[in-house]
Symmetry: C2
Subunit: 198 residues, 2 copies
């Protein structure tokens, strides 16, 4: 239907998450008509990815160098460790600018359906990190989903072996949320975590 | 927030149509963790696009070689020419397998808001093609949208200069459609083009 090179690109693009065959077709047909320098720029950006991005050996986040800029920063509190599921979650916390401790990226959450068992999350690495760096508090910031909750429980049990305080992100209404559209579980958690007005 | 190479890829991806910054971020973070051969395969597929795809000088469709396989086919009726907006429209007609004539791709439709005036569609090329190849009928298969309709009208006026029959794709209910969900304009066109049952 299309030239070989276009069909080949469609087949590669449609393997990416969230891109169906129709979106892949649309993108490939856009690229074939787009200016050469834009298309070659994209090709180069993809090709360079694997060469230039490394994983920080300390927090496991994606980084330009090892240790990453957060782990290497002298002004960040090493005694607090925030555990997140993905680099995107870490980026969201950093963008909020409210946390000055260090991080640990799990790359996933417990999900037996997707083949993520406790071993895939390498909990031993986390325990070692907590013990070696004399961490005082671990903030578990996995997502408020079934998988994230199961992961938080598993990590909390695991961290009982280390002398460390384990906390979890607070539950409740998101800022700007609307009570009438909020689900019942969020509302009940919000009530449970109600606070006295000072 | 992310390594330089990841930010660079996000910026390239978010320039593609239909990909916002969040989708671009999701794709880039997927690629950075995907197997090397998949990612390099994608980079190569993008880079090869411009080298390997050409435009057929006769119908203007994307092609592996010039003339394309449809224009070069001896068993297709050269006296009927179907005018479409895009290579994707041509592909849809070919997939339906109901048309044995030749094609002409406009690469767009009249849309002053997007800077597509009559000159951008190069109507002179179409007129020359119709005259040179002794075309008997031109089927205008632009989309049933405001832009497609305006383009069809413009082309029909233009083709009055050549001795050729000009037709337009039929309007009506799509097969499998449901009357109660159909818009009024489609229903009225469907009524206008009603046929006697044989």
């Amino acid at each position: 239907m299309y030239p070989r090179a276009v069909m080949n690109l469609i087949s590669h693009l449609s393997r990416l998450p969230g891109l169906g065959p129709k979106s892949a077709e649309r993108l490939a047909l856009h690229m074939v008509r787009a200016p050469s320098n834009e298309v070659l720029g994209l090709a180069k950006a993809v090709a360079r990815l694997k060469d230039e991005v490394c994983t920080c050996s300390s927090c496991h986040n994606l980084a330009d160098r090892d240790p990453c800029s957060i782990c290497g920063a002298p002004d960040r509190d090493e005694s607090v460790l925030c555990v997140v599921e993905t680099p995107a979650d870490l980026a969201a916390l950093e963008a909020a600018g409210c946390y000055r401790g260090k991080y640990y990226v799990l790359y996933g959450a417990l999900s037996p359906m997707e083949g993520m068992g406790p071993d895939e999350l390498k909990p031993g690495d986390l325990l070692r990190r907590v013990r070696d760096r004399k961490v005082r508090e671990v903030v578990i910031a996995t997502n408020p989903t079934t998988e994230g909750e199961a992961t938080a429980d598993m990590l909390a049990r695991l961290l009982e072996r280390a002398e460390v305080q384990v906390t979890r992100l607070g539950y409740g209404m998101p800022v700007g949320g609307d009570l009438k559209y909020m689900d019942g579980l969020t509302l009940s958690r919000s009530l449970e975590s109600r606070r006295k007005i000072d």
